[in-house]
């Protein structure tokens, strides 16, 4: 509310008595707010004081100094070097990286399955869409934690290495995880990685050029196949230049374990499958809603104007679908990341699992939980910033 001229006009009134003040709406609003703020601050102070006193009484240290102390516990899975002699702080970093890696894999898998199922849901094939619907209803309505535990028990009950289940000659399923063959390490691999990134960048630049070209000359250049060619072709070229190494590291059974190849731990796998399948059900529904957001009439109109099907998809359906899909999809990704925090039930050392260990060892529950919460809050905040940015981008295009 703007109060131009209002206040001084009232101020000039001689009838500004106590009762008019008490019944004044703005006065009441102000008082209510001051009281509210006071109550919040008072509760905050009260709780803070209690915490401080309780901690002192129980002889528990406060502050984040413990992050520097030696942790004295080892972690099974780590992406950076870490040993029991490293600090609690480093243990948290190991946990965070594990959280991020299982989340990244989960997001990839959930998106893949979710889009497949979501597209199947609106298929004109009755049978396929019913099967997809059944899948969605089941994975969405069973608690994620039950799903994760189920996969974990299933994996743990797989045979041991001696009786490993062989998967089409490329890998083995055992109670120690999934072991599969990978190309033997070769120096050209890093070059291939760079080539892949370069391919993606060139493909993006190419499509920007194509759009400019179309806008200025009116000639349409289909960049779909050139883009695919760049993204796949450049790494392949790099591989050929490197002498086309074909050596593959096969897993070989040695005693109770395998040598060679790559092994994904059962903990990681169970958590990954559990959270990814759960999220895929929600993603499928988001994709379905997004694809149905484009009215049939528009597609028919575009077709009747002689646009090719690919062109219709690229310039009519996708832009509208993405506008509907991206915001809820992003928040699904965030909840997948948050769901990865149930890792502790299967023993995967994610941030919360390690935080839990730290909490039990040091007794500094407040600080340990604060670290966990802050990390997740940061992830959520970054996501919502991205989302606001995206929404603004879409909104500008709308006009």
């Amino acid at each position: 509310m703007t109060h131009i001229d209002g206040s001084d006009q009232r101020g000039a009134k001689p009838r500004q008595t106590l009762s008019t003040l008490l019944y004044s709406k703005s006065f009441r609003t102000a008082v209510t707010q001051v009281v509210m703020a006071a109550v919040v601050i008072f509760i905050g102070l009260f709780l803070y004081q209690n915490v401080v006193e309780n901690l002192r009484a129980q002889n528990i240290a406060t502050g984040f100094g413990f992050l520097e102390q030696t942790s004295q516990f080892d972690i099974g899975e780590k992406m950076i070097t870490y040993s029991a002699r490293d600090s609690y702080g480093r243990a948290f970093v190991v946990g965070l990286l594990n959280t991020l890696s299982v989340s990244a894999a989960g997001i990839f898998l959930a998106t893949l399955i979710g889009f497949t199922v979501g597209i199947s849901r609106i298929s004109s094939n009755w049978l396929l869409s019913k099967v997809a619907t059944g899948y969605v209803e089941i994975v969405r309505n069973i608690p994620v934690i039950l799903q994760v535990i189920f996969w974990s028990v299933l994996l743990r009950n797989l045979p041991n290495a001696r009786n490993a289940v062989e998967v089409y000659g490329v890998g083995f399923l055992t109670n120690r995880g999934l072991t599969f063959a990978v190309p033997a390490t070769h120096p050209i691999h890093s070059t291939m990685g760079i080539a892949l990134v370069a391919g993606i960048v060139l493909a993006i630049l190419g499509s920007i050029w194509a759009r400019r070209h179309r806008e200025s000359t009116g000639t349409y250049v289909n960049m779909l196949w050139p883009s695919i060619g760049l993204v796949i072709g450049l790494p392949v070229l790099a591989w050929l230049f490197g002498g086309a190494p074909t050596a593959i590291s096969y897993p070989v059974q040695k005693g109770f374990n395998f040598q060679g190849g790559v092994t994904i731990s059962p903990e990681f796998t169970a958590l990954l499958i559990g959270i990814a399948l759960y999220a895929s059900g929600f993603i499928a529904e988001i994709v379905r809603a997004g694809l149905q957001a484009t009215p049939k009439g528009q597609i028919e109109a575009a077709r009747s104007m002689g646009f090719r099907p690919w062109f219709v998809t690229r310039y009519v359906v996708l832009p509208q679908a993405l506008r509907v899909i991206v915001p809820p999809l992003t928040s699904q990704y965030v909840s997948l990341i948050k769901n990865s925090s149930i890792a502790v039930v299967v023993g995967y050392p994610d941030l919360v699992n390690i935080g839990n260990t730290v909490m039990n060892q040091t007794g500094q529950a407040v600080e340990a939980i604060a670290v966990m919460m802050l990390v997740y809050l940061t992830i959520s905040l970054i996501t919502s910033t991205f989302m606001n940015f995206y929404n603004r981008l879409v909104a500008i295009k709308e006009r």
Partner: protein
């Protein structure tokens, strides 16, 4: 036309059906607006508007859209806050004093362009909710009162229906009855017929005319010039937040002083 509405709603002896204006309007002003101004940000919607409305007087305010006429009557029961000048109703000044706002609103009923009935309540509950919550009436008494007013607006048979099952005209009559259930002395109408299909306008205007004949003090923002001509004691034209012309229907329509009034009348009467 009859004065039936007045008999139930006005505790004071009801005025005779159609006394001459001088007889009806001999008391001092019931609503007094002095130099009322209001801004939306830097845009001034009302420029020092002054207006007197006496008991029983019927005022029609018209003007092009954006002229501030709706804002003006919404200031009278503080759906909008004015920032300068004074609004005095029944001797009580409208300030941000909650008690005063309550006292003033108790005497004012309001009818909106889009009816604003409560869609989750049926017609009868729409009418009784005010008396029960605000006047602490018993449910039975409130329902009796509501049925009386539904009969006045001639839709007692719709009492159990939900607002959106009714036609626009019926909804607006329910809205009028809902305001009357609070037994106000003043009724404000904010373009009550603008959202209606042409064939429904008449039924609402008839209800308003009956209400006027019963001696109700009324301020109507409307473009219904026929209504203004037959019912109004005072017709006002607003433009750009100012009162441009004010006078009896005879003066206003017969001999407007301001060229803007003439222009406005030409435009509106062309249709």
């Amino acid at each position: 036309m009859s004065n039936i509405i007045a008999q139930t709603q006005s505790p004071s002896p009801s005025p005779s059906p159609s006394p001459s204006p001088s007889q009806r309007l001999d008391q001092g002003p019931m609503i007094k607006l002095r130099d009322v101004s209001k801004w939306y940000g830097h845009f001034q919607v009302l420029h020092d508007v002054s207006l007197d409305v006496r008991k029983g007087e019927r005022v029609v305010i018209c003007g092009p859209s954006g002229s501030g006429k709706s804002t003006l009557i919404r200031c009278i029961n503080r759906l909008e806050e004015h920032q300068k000048g004074e609004i005095i109703v029944n001797g009580i000044e409208m300030t941000d004093n909650v008690k005063n706002i309550e006292k003033i609103r108790r005497n004012i009923g309001m009818v909106f362009q889009s009816f604003n009935l409560f869609p989750h309540l049926n017609v009868l509950d729409n009418l009784t909710i005010g008396p029960m919550l605000v006047r602490h009436m018993k449910k039975k008494d409130a329902e009796e009162l509501a049925m009386q007013f539904l009969e006045k607006v001639r839709i007692p048979e719709q009492a159990q229906k939900y607002p959106l099952q009714l036609s626009g005209g019926q909804q607006q009559r329910v809205a009028i009855a809902r305001s009357l259930c609070m037994q106000p002395e003043i009724m404000l109408f904010d373009e009550p017929t603008s959202a209606l299909d042409p064939e429904m306008i008449k039924e609402v205007l008839d209800t308003m005319i009956e209400l006027a004949d019963s001696g109700m003090t009324m301020i109507c923002v409307t473009h219904e010039m026929g209504f203004a001509r037959t019912v109004a004691d005072n017709v006002i034209l607003m433009a750009d937040g100012k009162t441009v012309e004010s006078g009896t229907p005879e003066e206003f329509f017969g001999n407007p002083k301001n060229p803007r009034t003439r222009l406005f009348l030409e435009q509106i009467l062309k249709h």
